[in-house]
């Protein structure tokens, strides 16, 4: 079977979906807090691919998509900084970054 030569929006959206699901599974399976952070980054990247693909294919959204993607990138950086600070704090208190040990608030 020959792959279709024309690259359409569908292809980009599929790539975005794959990255999104990879990120979601990563968040579910990793026990390392930093691994979960990586999963979040993957999810945001999948969303970003969708934003930019819509921006490129739909002339009515050509600025919006890119502006949203920029905001997502910047906010992801902020989120990573705060999350890492929390992880470091957690490590200082528990000497591990295994999220399963964070159960002090369990009722």
């Amino acid at each position: 079977m020959n792959p279709p030569v024309e690259i359409g929006l569908t292809h980009y959206l599929s790539l975005g979906a794959v990255m999104f699901v990879c990120g979601a599974v990563c968040m579910a399976t990793k026990r390392n807090a930093i691994g979960i952070l990586m999963g979040v980054e993957l999810v945001l990247n999948g969303a970003n691919i969708n934003f930019v693909a819509f921006a490129a294919f739909n002339p009515a959204f050509d600025i919006e998509g890119q502006v949203f993607a920029l905001f997502v990138i910047v906010l992801a950086a902020a989120e990573a900084a705060v999350a890492l600070a929390i992880v470091l704090n957690f490590y200082n208190n528990h000497m591990t970054v295994d999220v399963d040990t964070a159960e002090e608030l369990k009722g």
């Binding site: 792959p3 579910a28 930093i34 490129a56 890119q66």
Partner: protein
């Protein structure tokens, strides 16, 4: 030329997807950070292919050069053994793989079956909209009026009506994001600072 573009897309997209899967599968956290770097760099190449140069370069400088370095830094600060890995149980693996496959099936099924974006026009060639992109992007962030076209938030572009320009711009979100970044800077520095616990014995 179109064939070459298609080849390039398939090449980069498949590599990016494989790297994203490798991030999940790898047990060693630094290795999976390396795979994540490739996935993010591949995403930025995808952005270049889509003609969004500015977003692609931002992706590289912020994600790969900044965030990811920070993440690896965090890994090194919290590592106990030389190469740390935390195992996940087989049942958890099976469950999440199943759910993941279902999710990707649903998503791709929706994408392929939905007819709304089947008849979208092809993207403009990169050379033509390249200069337009970053200038218009800057204008819309600066709050220059008429920088951004009007669009309905649902539905797709109607080729019969040319996009009209409206008074929509992104100065306020831009400012909010910059204040937010400042708050994050201070907050992260406060959270991560070395605390000396009173009476704590090592």
């Amino acid at each position: 030329m179109m064939e070459f573009q298609a080849f390039l897309f398939y090449f980069v997209a498949i590599l990016t997807g494989l790297c994203a899967i490798a991030v999940v599968v790898t047990q060693n956290i630094v290795r999976s950070a390396a795979w994540l770097m490739f996935a993010l760099a591949g995403t930025s190449v995808i952005f270049f292919l889509l003609g969004a140069d500015f977003v692609a370069a931002t992706q590289l400088i912020v994600y790969v050069g900044g965030t990811l370095v920070l993440v690896v830094f965090g890994v090194m600060l919290t590592a106990q053994g030389p190469f740390i890995s935390m195992k996940t149980g087989a049942v958890e693996w099976a469950m999440s793989t199943l759910v993941g496959l279902l999710l990707v099936g649903v998503l791709i099924g929706t994408i392929v079956r939905d007819p709304t974006w089947k008849d979208l026009p092809k993207p403009k060639p990169t050379e033509a909209n390249q200069s337009f992109n970053s200038v218009a992007l800057g204008e819309s962030l600066l709050g220059v009026e008429e920088a951004t076209p009007e669009a309905r938030l649902t539905g797709t572009f109607d080729p019969r009506t040319a996009p009209r320009r409206t008074r929509m711009a992104y100065l306020l979100p831009f400012e909010i994001v910059s204040v937010h970044l400042l708050v994050v800077l201070i907050g992260a520095a406060y959270l991560a600072r070395a605390k000396r616990r009173r009476g704590a014995t090592p």
